[in-house]
């Protein structure tokens, strides 16, 4: 049995080569387009996030947790509103020691209690 087949024309090889190269170019373009779109989407997300961050005021920090009582609700310190000091607040003069005199039923016994 003779298995010698005639050769194929070079034009056919050229056609296949052109088709392969064209397909590779097309796939490259499609891949680049996807990359460009992904990069553009990432930029848009960054810009929108930045704008939103600029518009919103900074949120008050959460109150610190002091301790956790087992079984009970967490103990928190509430953030107190900002205090404004009075400008011309006069300091109180150093306090005199307070003397409390406690008289008992016995007139001979008197308790003197000095409080700082």
């Amino acid at each position: 049995m003779n298995f010698d087949f005639p050769e194929v024309s070079p034009a056919v090889y050229d056609e296949v080569r052109q088709r392969v190269l064209g397909e590779i170019r097309r796939q490259r373009k499609a891949r680049n387009a996807v990359r460009m779109m992904a990069a553009a989407a990432a930029c848009a997300v960054l810009v929108v996030t930045g704008l939103l961050a600029l518009r919103q005021p900074a949120a008050a920090p959460a109150p610190p947790m002091l301790a956790r009582v087992p079984g009970g609700p967490p103990v928190v310190v509430r953030a107190s509103p900002m205090r404004h000091r009075r400008a011309n607040r006069q300091r109180a003069a150093p306090a005199q020691p307070l003397l409390v005199r406690l008289e008992t039923d016995d007139p001979n016994v008197v308790i003197l209690w000095i409080v700082d």
């Binding site: 049995m1 003779n2 298995f3 087949f5 005639p6 194929v8 090889y13 392969v20």
Partner: protein, 158 residues
């Protein structure tokens, strides 16, 4: 360098140039995508044969190619039957007869007899053993003779 190998193998396996070009295009695109896996140029040739055979099988199944049965009843082939028809006609009949062979026999015949590969190479490409390839080639040759004879008789009758 490999374009002849891929295109002609695909043509023998599929029987039509349009299909062979599609298969060759797919095989070369696969090669382009997998270029990094090769350590040397020598590894490309058997890989391309394997990919070409697989692409052709996929394409043939997808497009419903080569599904027809061989024409006419099975006939015994007497020696020297080939010489009665001209060389060119014999080529045409052989190309047509190839398309009637079962998938694996066709691949074995194309790689072993037409592409001239060793039995071991063919076995490695087809993922089978050399003994299986030898059997496929032997059965395929006998079947081809029979189909060529039937096709030849049918053409003479027309």
């Amino acid at each position: 360098m490999h374009q002849r190998q891929v295109l002609l193998t695909s043509l023998r396996l599929l029987g039509r140039m349009e299909d062979a070009q599609d298969a060759a295009q797919e095989a070369f695109l696969k090669l382009y995508r997998n270029l990094r896996i090769f350590g040397s140029l020598a590894e490309i040739r058997p890989w391309l044969y394997r990919v070409s055979v697989n692409v052709c099988h996929d394409l043939a199944r997808k497009r419903g190619l080569l599904a027809a049965e061989a024409p006419g009843p099975d006939v015994p082939v007497e020696d020297g039957g080939d010489e009665r028809i001209g060389l060119e006609q014999q080529r045409v009949l052989l190309a047509e007869a190839l398309t009637y062979l079962p998938e694996k026999e066709r691949a074995a015949i194309v790689l072993r007899e037409i592409e001239g590969l060793d039995t071991d190479e063919v076995a490695a490409i087809l993922g089978s053993t050399p003994a299986t390839v030898r059997t496929q080639v032997s059965t395929g040759r006998a079947r081809l003779r029979s189909i060529v004879t039937r096709l030849s008789r049918r053409k003479h009758e027309l």
